[in-house]
Symmetry: C2
Subunit: 253 residues, 2 copies
């Protein structure tokens, strides 16, 4: 298996055809997985907005005011409003705003990015990343999977890791249930989130920042003869950490 960045991509703008831009720069193969950073998917889809599009309601003003007092930093209630409008559930409101997006991903600020766009503009996550992945995939000359990727922090462990937000052309995970190890014992590891692992591999190659390359091809990954599953985002009913967060409130470090 290898992973390489797609070279020479231009700055992506609204309306750009990402599939064509990639296909013109790489001879894609059927054993490729095309990993596209959500930032460029959002840019191509015109998922930008202005803070002025989000006049703050009472909940957003309350959240921003609490965040200001907790962090000591100025917080724009219109940004909190934008996060709320992109979200279906607020998991934590301090010391940072952790929500579930409309497509099921749990992330800080609903993944809204203020760093990659000019002025006060916001870059929202793609509305339905798996549909974005499917659209890009439809435009490719080769039948290979497409992932829309991002980076995300996580409990218990420091740092950000590549994760997948949307996928098309392959299952989200592979299932080892019922298989046995060398000693004939049934495996305890049952479901492997291959799309997150592919996003992690891609992130090692893509980097961030001004030298960043937003599309990475992973070549030669073998899914193998396993069942697949389309599950990536946990339901609240099976997620004990989410249940615990519901009864919890930040009270300072």
């Amino acid at each position: 298996m290898e992973a390489f960045a797609v070279p020479g991509l231009p700055e992506i703008e609204a309306g750009d055809d990402l599939a064509a831009l990639v296909a013109n720069r790489v001879s894609l193969r059927e054993d490729d997985v095309v990993c596209v950073a959500s930032t460029v998917v959002s840019k191509a889809e015109g998922r930008t907005a202005a803070l002025s599009d989000y006049p703050a309601g009472p909940r957003a003003r309350e959240i921003a005011s609490r965040l200001e007092s907790v962090t000591g930093e100025e917080k724009d209630p219109r940004f909190a409003q934008a996060v709320l409008e992109e979200s279906t559930d607020v998991l934590m409101d301090a010391p940072f705003l952790l929500t579930e997006t409309r497509f099921g991903h749990v992330g800080v600020n609903a993944g809204i990015d203020r760093s990659n766009t000019g002025g006060d503009d916001l870059l929202l996550l793609p509305k339905q990343p798996s549909e974005s992945a499917e659209r890009i995939r439809d435009g490719l000359p080769v039948d290979c999977p497409v992932l829309v990727t991002d980076t995300s922090g996580r409990p218990f462990r420091h740092g950000q890791r590549g994760v997948t937000l949307g996928w098309a052309g392959m299952p989200a995970s592979r299932d080892w249930r019922g298989e046995e190890d060398r000693d004939g014992h049934e495996l305890e590891v049952t479901v492997e989130s291959v799309v997150d692992e592919l996003a992690a591999a891609a992130n090692l190659v893509s980097g961030e920042g001004s030298g960043g390359t937003p599309v990475v091809v992973v070549r030669g990954f073998e899914f193998g003869d396993h069942d697949g599953s389309q599950e990536l985002y946990r339901e609240v009913s099976g997620d004990f950490v989410r249940q615990a967060l519901r009864g919890w409130s930040y009270e300072g470090r």
Copy 2:
């Protein structure tokens, strides 16, 4: 960057020299990262134990009894005792036992494996995986980093992913702080857990079970001109999910 499994490794036994076994099968290079599954590190280090080594104390009996009533499955209190003895903190005691190991990793059952060993034997995680990584690295003919890897579930997202438990010869993460994106904005993603991403990439190649290949070489990863950090495991003080779990108790689905 590429990743490939080390071919032809024998079943690993206590006392085996993992460094020599790998070096005899791969022409290692300085741009390699050698990713070794914790199971074979534990086997080579003789980190096996028997349930009878762990006469259950009152806490273990209480935990096992609660787990039995919650899951409807028989639970051996001696196994709970083994988990407690490998742990410094219990984060959840039902519907599964989630603890912090003595070296800082948060995992189910302190990572103790009953599937990879014969009979009632237990396979414990390496005592200090970074020291294990350093020992393997010392035995390699080439100066390249070594990771001791495992798989782990996580909140919010389904499935297991490759993670690193111990590392030597490279930092755990790379630091993008102060760097700017193409538009001149400071990056929001600041610290990337490269050792976890490398473990994820390795896990895509290694597989599990009877066909599993427990050592993977990642070749050509470029750390780049960044600061590194040795932080991988969060402190409780900065981990709000752990704080929330402290006040939470499982009460059924």
